[in-house]
């Protein structure tokens, strides 16, 4: 007897544990079956809700309070947040907003630049990223692991270090110009505030986050679906357009959202690879941070940016909801 029992516990340990836990949960309900207190299932949401409230809603409210507050110049321009909504003053916010359209509209060029850069960088990320992800998931069965490791390995080195490397590569006397010299572009000042350089920096920085979700989704598409497509007479290209691509659509949307949102707030790529001529929205915010009394304007800009990125976010939520309904 004892011998059998020990071997059984050893083998079935996971299952027995599960059973025990379930039994203990069932106990309060007695013999009539499972009984849970009213708070039991909702309580599972509590940690997440607490997290959101503490680290998102509360700080976001503070941003509102700073934006609609004032600053104390005698206290070195420290913010004086107005926490009570009835004290809120919209002067700084309105002034900040007006700089997008009134007079010389000094905030408009960085805004337009941001849209142009983010759009171009996202398109490049998508085209290049999809191709790489497709290759990794479909064609490269043997080297799949290697390709994945190669994709992820740059993330082990600090972004700052990698951009410093680009600074060296793109230097006027650097290797890139050396390679381009035979083509006649050898004298390009890549780091003197060129749009191309900043877009390249953005693509470089964010493309892994486009590849990974697309790869995960392509890798999960069942072979049988593609075979069915071919069986029903579709060519390879048609199978791609009518089976693979629609199935990877949610991953494409997720990838776009994951790369687009941080790009809108990016400022260090331009700080390191561009100049004031390529200032983005994030640079407007970081400039205010370095200035005495800039916190109110900084918070106003953060709110304006939040509204801007809310639009693609809402579109994404609507699309994923629709996809979930169709499934």
């Amino acid at each position: 007897m004892p011998e059998i029992e020990t071997s059984a516990t050893h083998d079935e340990r996971p299952r027995r544990r599960l059973w025990r836990r379930r039994a203990s949960v069932d106990e309060p309900g007695g013999a009539s079956g499972a009984w849970y207190p009213r708070w039991y299932w909702p309580s599972f949401v509590a940690p997440g809700s607490l997290w959101l409230a503490l680290l998102f809603l509360l700080p976001f409210y503070v941003v509102f309070s700073v934006a609609f507050g004032t600053v104390d110049f005698e206290n070195f321009g420290a913010p004086v947040p107005y926490y009570a909504p009835w004290w809120w003053s919209f002067d700084t916010f309105n002034e900040t907003l007006s700089k997008f359209y009134e007079g010389t509209a000094i905030y408009r060029p960085p805004l337009f630049r941001t849209f142009a850069y983010v759009f171009s960088a996202t398109v490049i990320c998508l085209v290049v990223g999809y191709t790489v992800a497709y290759f990794a998931a479909r064609s490269a069965t043997k080297y799949k692991g290697l390709i994945l490791i190669l994709l992820i390995s740059p993330l082990w080195i600090s972004y700052l270090m990698r951009i410093y490397a680009w600074q060296g590569l793109l230097d006027t006397d650097g290797p890139i110009n050396l390679l381009l010299r035979p083509l006649g572009f050898g004298e390009t000042n890549w780091l003197e505030g060129m749009h191309v350089t900043v877009i390249l920096g953005l693509v470089y920085g964010y493309i892994p986050f486009m590849i990974l979700p697309i790869y995960a989704s392509l890798d999960r598409i069942q072979e049988s679906l593609l075979e069915a497509g071919r069986d029903l007479g579709a060519s390879g290209r048609q199978t791609f357009w009518r089976v693979t691509l629609p199935l990877s659509r949610p991953a494409i949307l997720a990838g776009i959202v994951i790369v687009t949102l941080p790009m809108f707030g990016d400022y260090y790529t331009n700080d390191l690879l561009g100049s004031t001529k390529t200032s983005m929205f994030g640079n407007l915010i970081s400039t205010q941070r370095e200035q005495q009394g800039g916190s109110t304007r900084m918070a106003s800009l953060v709110l304006i940016l939040a509204v801007i990125v809310l639009v693609p976010m809402l579109y994404y939520l609507r699309e994923t909801k629709r996809a979930a309904e169709q499934a």
Partner: protein, 423 residues
């Protein structure tokens, strides 16, 4: 029975976690409620909330200010604390070897924490994120630091080197911003000028151009301006022919802004912080707006095999440029005030201060013993950088950037925001 014990344990831990989380939520919201109850406009933009009863006026050369002493100095016989001494300083602004000598002499550690711009440094001291024993502010912030009771008055008996080494004018009557040196001692002195590569521009050529060199299309792509609104706007005002470097005139500020945008957009001028001491010696720039100390320090950054004679510094005629100094102070919250006094006295020692200046930092202390001629004769400062040496007479003639009033400061910042937005 065996099952109950861990259950109980878990419950108590959960209760504990719950209470801790509740406390974390309650504290900020309590603060928020309290803040919401008081009228927020009260301490906004008005007088400071420090205990100094009267508002200290902004100091100017014409109206020098004696900063009021509102708290006691430490007793002269306070025992020297054991370390570590916390020094809050600009990045790359003190010679590590001199710090090591202090550590050895006093048997303490020195922790150096750095800031990249004054706004960051001041904010962190003001809200207590950093509690240094010695801090290195620019003079424009001293008034408000004292107004907010953030500085400790100095026990002058513990700093005999102030009288032994430093120009007498710094102790009697004392500098315009701190008559009687109640709170500060001078750390370094410097002027504003143009640094250049002598292997690309001749001395005569640059002297003929002056500030205009920073607007010369010939050096397109190799022009550096400081990424610092106070300095660069003031230099653009000088370039535009005015000497009003603390101006509140919108037309002058606007003209300076237009000029800066012009050299950025048309001549690819760059806004940098290390342009003079690191990138000019590396050959990235040909001309640069410069603090004199940066170009003296630049000789330590030259590539191997490049002589110091490639570096040049042009200083305008007396009275046509700005001059200034940084200070050493002891914050009111300093944990080791006596050790801080010892450190200040140590840095004002002729040998240590000079070592800090000539062997790495490049920024000169206002010492009686430092004579421009002997510096050049001894080869400490290359002859081609003789203009970078600061003399006491320069302070009589040159322009002094002072603390700007909030209204004027806002105008300067608006102009700078536009420059940084790349309009």
């Amino acid at each position: 029975m065996i099952g109950r014990h861990p259950m109980e344990n878990r419950w108590s831990r959960r209760q504990f976690l719950g209470r801790a989380a509740g406390g974390a939520v309650a504290m900020p919201s309590l603060a928020a409620i309290l803040a919401a109850c008081s009228k927020p406009g009260e301490n906004a933009g008005g007088s400071g909330s420090g205990s100094a009863s009267t508002e200290i006026p902004i100091a100017t050369l014409e109206n020098p200010v004696e900063l009021p002493v509102t708290m006691d100095t430490i007793a002269a016989d306070t025992p020297i604390e054991s370390g570590p001494l916390v020094l809050y300083n600009w990045a790359d602004y003190i010679h590590k070897k001199v710090v090591a000598e202090f550590e050895e002499e006093y048997g303490v550690d020195v922790e150096i924490t750095t800031y990249n711009n004054m706004e960051e440094g001041i904010q962190k001291v003001a809200n207590g994120q950093v509690t240094p024993d010695v801090f290195v502010p620019t003079v424009g912030y001293l008034r408000r630091l004292v107004q907010k009771d953030l500085l400790m008055p100095l026990q002058q008996e513990l700093i005999p080197n102030m009288l032994a080494s430093v120009w007498p004018s710094y102790s009697d009557p004392g500098p315009y911003y701190d008559l009687g040196w109640n709170y500060s001692v001078p750390y370094t002195i410097y002027t504003w000028g143009v640094a250049y590569r002598r292997d690309r521009v001749s001395d005569e050529d640059l002297a003929a151009q002056g500030w205009e060199a920073l607007w010369n299309p010939e050096y397109a792509g190799a022009i550096s301006l400081y990424d610092s609104y106070g300095d660069t706007i003031a230099v653009a005002i000088l370039r535009n022919g005015s000497l009003d470097v603390n101006t509140g005139d919108p037309a002058l500020i606007d003209a300076a802004k237009v000029a800066i945008l012009e050299t950025i957009n048309d001549h690819e001028a760059r806004l940098t912080i290390n342009g003079v001491y690191a990138k000019l010696p590396a050959g990235d720039f040909t001309v640069a707006e410069a603090w004199s100390g940066d170009i003296v320090g630049a000789q330590w950054y030259l590539p191997r095999g490049t002589g110091t004679d490639v570096l040049g510094y042009w200083r305008p005629e007396p009275g046509q440029t700005m001059i200034g100094n940084d200070t050493l102070v002891v914050p009111a919250e300093a944990q080791r005030p006596r050790l801080a006094h010892e450190f200040i006295n140590f840095m004002l020692d002729e040998q240590h201060g000079t070592d800090n200046f000539v062997n790495w930092n490049g920024y000169q202390p206002p010492f009686v013993s430092i004579q421009p001629d002997s510096l050049i004769d001894q080869g400490v400062v290359p002859e081609n950088l003789s203009d970078a040496v600061v003399t006491e007479e320069m302070f009589a003639d040159d322009l002094t950037p002072i603390e700007l009033s909030p209204e004027v400061e806002a105008m300067w910042l608006d102009a700078w925001t536009e420059i940084k937005a790349g309009a």
